[in-house]
Symmetry: C2
Subunit: 254 residues, 2 copies
């Protein structure tokens, strides 16, 4: 159990898709901001960690379970907790809740600390994790293996100037956007995700093109398997589980 931190928010127009549901990549970006706010509160803001230790946070993976997507103008609480860490990995949970406290989205994100000079991952520094009252655990949480794609469909995207953040890196949230965009508009209009697993492997470089490849599988539920490629390398893997959007009640009431 680590320190928790939460904010209240109302879902604005700009964060919603055509169906009036929150856009998951933007919801995740907001969740990351909330963790940044907690870091400031406990005196371990990103610039402090950079100045004192020469380190920056990088994200290894996200696992997100979705009961229901928050909707346009809905009031939600976004809560985060720096739960635990081991030698290299720091695990942080996020919960998006409705006004009655029901959990709409539950996310676990794995962070690592990277040396800004050598670009290499460093072992966790006690002073940092203690500020968040994060618990030391031996266990490393492993994601289930990503499937080899057999007959994937490919789409190509240009990396846009505005896909870069202020540090000149492709913003973390963009990868999930590319994953979404690899699916057809028709599919996205008629399905909502129930689970998302995303693993970052290698940073996409600014400029140039990326390819997203996707393969759909329909077993008990619909599963989409994704890879983001550039320059012949895999940059990210993702797996998403979906349910039909029409089954859902009330989500059209806007």
């Amino acid at each position: 159990m680590g320190l928790t931190y939460k904010i209240s928010a109302t879902i604005p127009y700009d964060m919603c898709d055509v169906n009036g549901n929150v856009r998951v990549p933007q919801m995740m970006a907001l969740a990351m901001q909330v963790s940044g706010m907690q870091s400031i509160e406990v005196g371990m803001a990103d610039d402090v960690i950079l100045e004192r230790f020469g380190l920056v946070w990088i994200i290894s993976d996200h696992t997100l379970e979705i009961t229901r997507l928050p909707r346009f103008l809905e009031n939600v609480v976004i809560e985060t907790e720096a739960v635990s860490h081991n030698r290299y990995f720091c695990y942080r949970n996020f919960r998006i809740m409705d006004v009655e406290g029901n959990i709409l989205m539950a996310q676990r994100t794995t962070f690592m600390l990277m040396d800004i000079e050598t670009r290499k991952v460093q072992t966790v520094i006690n002073e940092i994790v203690e500020a968040f009252q994060s618990e030391f655990v031996k266990k490393i949480i492993r994601m289930s293996k990503f499937k080899d794609l057999e007959h994937p469909t490919e789409k190509e995207f240009r990396v846009r100037f505005y896909d870069l953040d202020m540090n000149g890196h492709v913003n973390n949230g963009k990868y999930l956007e590319w994953v979404y965009e690899s699916l057809s508009e028709d599919f996205l209009m008629n399905h909502v995700p129930t689970k998302i697993e995303l693993k970052y492997v290698k940073e996409v470089m600014p400029g140039g093109l990326i390819q997203t490849v996707v393969e759909l599988e329909e077993v008990e539920s619909i599963i989409s398997h994704h890879e983001v490629h550039s320059d012949g390398d895999v940059n990210a893997y993702a797996r998403m589980e979906w349910r039909s959007y029409k089954e859902s009640e009330g989500e059209h009431e806007l």
Copy 2:
């Protein structure tokens, strides 16, 4: 002189480009939100206009003059005024000011009212413009003519699912993003705009591809001339004036 309305804002990380300057398309989107907030305050919110008159606002064009781009974490005031209108056009001014009241960006946007059923532009309704104390003027403000492009460079973009807003339309702000993206990363890293003129001609349809074409001209200043195309039609024209970014003092101090 119409009613004015203003908000204070701090420029967040997400609104900044690689140089730590505000991203103009996002600044314009925020300005539009401020005008929406004024509409709510005077009792003429978009949903009221839709329900009572069957009308929606559409944007015809923007003219934006930029003294200096707001920077990361800078506190600004965003002020809007529904200045004047004639039979078809409503003119609204925006001013982005620094803490000392200096005008950083001055924008004029021309709005029109469209019938939601017939999709045709309607004459201005007095009850609406009176709520904003907008002044009737006979004069129609005309933009200077956009140049015919002789040797343009072309880039192609996919219209993304997330380029659509909740109404299923390509968000107005996307056109300026595409205009920016038609220029090279190198150019965008080393130049900032001083003036932007953007005229919407025809809506880009969801799905499919758009082409942005651009031609650079260097006379006394650097001017870029742009068109956004899709399906053989011109969707928007733009002209931007630029200055070298390295000349500017202090903008790297982040």
